[in-house]
């Protein structure tokens, strides 16, 4: 096995991992602030992927341009979901929240199945088959663009949380729920805003992912599990951790596919997850609760 091949696989893993990371970032932000685990996360991602295929089929809209309207729609959807369904559940026990989101996930998966049937859908753009050559390295154009979109969105989110007043207010809610209420922040509104932002991450990740893989309704639960693995490895609630976890899982999946059997690749991820949970339960970049 040549070093070039390994290098190519690692680069592809890093790039895909960044898209995974953006998806997981949405989950992490939501958990970090609202303290609710979004069990419908992957299902939301598949909805974004379907939305992209529709926009592409109807308007020939490039998936990366489609990300803008899809993200806007997802923000509204996420805001509404938090405001209408999840806010009443934030003081309820975990299993109750779990049930709520499992019900939402069941409706999403099967709603997609009703609307689009079980067959796989995709988008076909010409840069999917092209690649950049740098020396002996081959980098898929589509993968690079997808990773670029992920990094751009993640950076924008980081900047929002760091530099805007609203971002600061949301961080205050995450740090001290009671304190945030005492100083007069509208916590319910900020929670809904956070869920909307998390939904934007999922939307952009979905638009980027559909360039790389075909979408079926059944992908939802798989992505939900993947997002869990990533955020726990990186640190549930840590933003940098989600991206790092995404890259780690992306690379480990790619390498496991190369060196072991491809079907065992997620066993590797779950093994990594179990190790991290035992040795560093707060995740690689997480803070101790």
């Amino acid at each position: 096995m040549s070093a070039d091949l390994v290098a190519n696989v690692v680069i592809a893993g890093v790039l895909t991992g960044l898209v995974y990371g953006l998806m997981a970032l949405g989950l992490s932000v939501i958990f970090g602030v609202v303290r609710v685990v979004n069990f419908a996360h992957g299902e939301m991602m598949t909805i974004a992927m379907y939305a992209t295929t529709i926009l592409f089929a109807a308007l020939k809209l490039d998936p990366f341009l489609a990300a803008v309207p899809v993200a806007a729609a997802f923000f509204v959807f996420g805001y509404g979901l938090q405001k209408a369904l999840i806010n009443p559940f934030i003081t309820r026990p975990e299993h109750s929240q779990f049930m709520l989101l499992v019900a939402v996930a069941i409706i999403m998966v099967n709603g997609l199945l009703m609307a689009f049937g079980p067959d796989a859908r995709n988008v076909q753009v010409d840069y999917q088959l092209e690649s950049f050559e740098i020396g002996k390295l081959l980098i898929d154009k589509a993968r690079l663009y997808a990773a670029g979109a992920a990094v751009l969105t993640a950076t924008a989110l980081f900047a929002f949380f760091r530099f805007t007043l609203t971002g600061k207010a949301i961080r205050a809610c995450a740090d001290n729920y009671l304190g945030a209420k005492v100083v007069g922040l509208d916590v319910k509104h900020l929670y809904a805003l956070t869920f909307g932002l998390g939904a934007i991450c999922v939307a952009v990740a979905g638009c980027a992912m559909v360039v790389l893989v075909d979408v079926t309704p059944g992908l939802g639960p798989y992505y939900t599990l993947l997002a869990f693995v990533i955020v726990i490895v990186g640190g549930l609630g840590s933003m940098g951790g989600a991206l790092l976890g995404g890259v780690l899982i992306g690379v480990s999946e790619a390498l496991a596919g190369l060196f072991i059997v491809p079907s065992a690749k997620s066993m590797f991820s779950f093994g990594l997850l179990i190790l991290v949970l035992l040795l560093r339960p707060q995740g690689l970049l997480g803070r101790k609760a």
Binding site: A103, I106, F270
Partner: protein, 320 residues
């Protein structure tokens, strides 16, 4: 309490007499309800009593099924011996997960996700295990439907119905006794406030481990039943997270931590699922997915409007 006892006795008699009036289809639905009542009761020991949220109970169903099914398939050793091996294997799994989690202070959401990870890890492991047929599945020889071969647990659906009825009743009585025992009170103390329980001198690690052991052992038996009732085992199906969710839905809908909750939840959900199928067929709406959408909407409504499940609300109405 006496009203509850009367209700229970009536229910048991009705269930015992059910096969006299029920057709084969109704009997299979009833068997399924009892199966979920039983697994729900087992899950409830861990979550409802001791407050440890497991989202990976399909692990114990799968391991139990594969151990007992595997030795029957390869060596012809029947389930009366296999069930003990299945229990042993599941208890070992439970002990490992519990030890690792509780030693390292993992609880709440993190514990739940750890249980998912172990179930998924094992699923993929079984996909690569030659002894059990890997992803291609393992098929037990289909039972003779007309003779009661109790020794090998092969026989007509009626036999499986009564076996499941026995298990469900045994689980109910067992859980009732557990809840009234010292362990039951310790568990509830841990569930309500673990730090306070610890401060009172309860060895929370040991009692949480006991809950995991009992719950995993009970679920192992359900796995053995699963193997001999359905006769074919695929890792993709038996270990899948949706299987764990199926187990959990009953007790949550019925009422977490209650004894009647898992039974009521199993009945409501199974009948609901079948009812929706019938209804949609009657209307001619047979679009794939539509049934589950209805199911999801009902789940959503129940969890929103009956936060403690159906049983506590019903018990108040019946003044039990």
């Amino acid at each position: 309490m006496s009203r509850a006892l009367v209700l229970l006795a009536v229910l048991a008699v009705l269930l015992a007499a059910l096969p006299a009036v029920a057709g084969p289809y109704a009997l299979s639905v009833a068997t399924l309800i009892l199966y979920f009542a039983y697994t729900g009761q087992a899950w409830n020991v861990m979550m409802g009593f001791a407050g440890q949220l497991s989202l990976g109970h399909s692990l114990y169903v799968g391991v139990g099924a594969y151990v007992a099914g595997g030795i029957f398939f390869h060596w012809g050793i029947g389930p009366w011996a296999g069930v003990w091996l299945a229990i042993l294997a599941c208890v070992v799994f439970g002990l490992v997960i519990g030890f690792l989690a509780f030693r390292f202070g993992i609880s709440g959401v993190y514990f739940a996700l750890l249980t998912i990870a172990f179930a998924e890890f094992t699923r993929i492991g079984f996909d690569h295990l030659g002894w059990t047929g890997g992803p291609g599945g393992m098929f037990l020889k289909v039972a003779q439907r007309d003779t009661w071969d109790v020794l090998n647990f092969r026989g007509p659906p009626l036999m499986y119905y009564y076996a499941m009825l026995f298990l469900a009743i045994a689980a109910f009585i067992g859980c009732f006794l557990l809840l009234k025992s010292k362990a039951g009170y310790y568990w509830q103390a841990i569930r309500e406030n673990e730090e306070a329980a610890q401060a009172l001198g309860i060895n929370t690690f040991r009692w949480k481990m006991l809950a995991v052991v009992i719950s995993s052992a009970m679920t192992a038996v359900a796995g053995v039943f699963f193997a001999f009732y359905y006769n074919n085992l695929f890792p993709e199906q038996i270990f899948h997270i949706s299987r764990s969710i199926e187990i959990i839905l009953g007790p949550i809908i019925g009422g977490v931590g209650t004894l009647f909750g898992p039974i009521l939840g199993a009945a409501v959900l199974t009948l609901l699922s079948d009812g929706i199928t019938e209804l949609l067929a009657a209307f001619g709406w047979e679009i794939p997915g539509i049934k589950q959408v209805f199911y999801g909407v009902v789940l959503l409504a129940v969890v929103m409007f009956l936060p403690h499940g159906i049983w506590p609300a019903l018990a108040r109405k019946l003044r039990l």
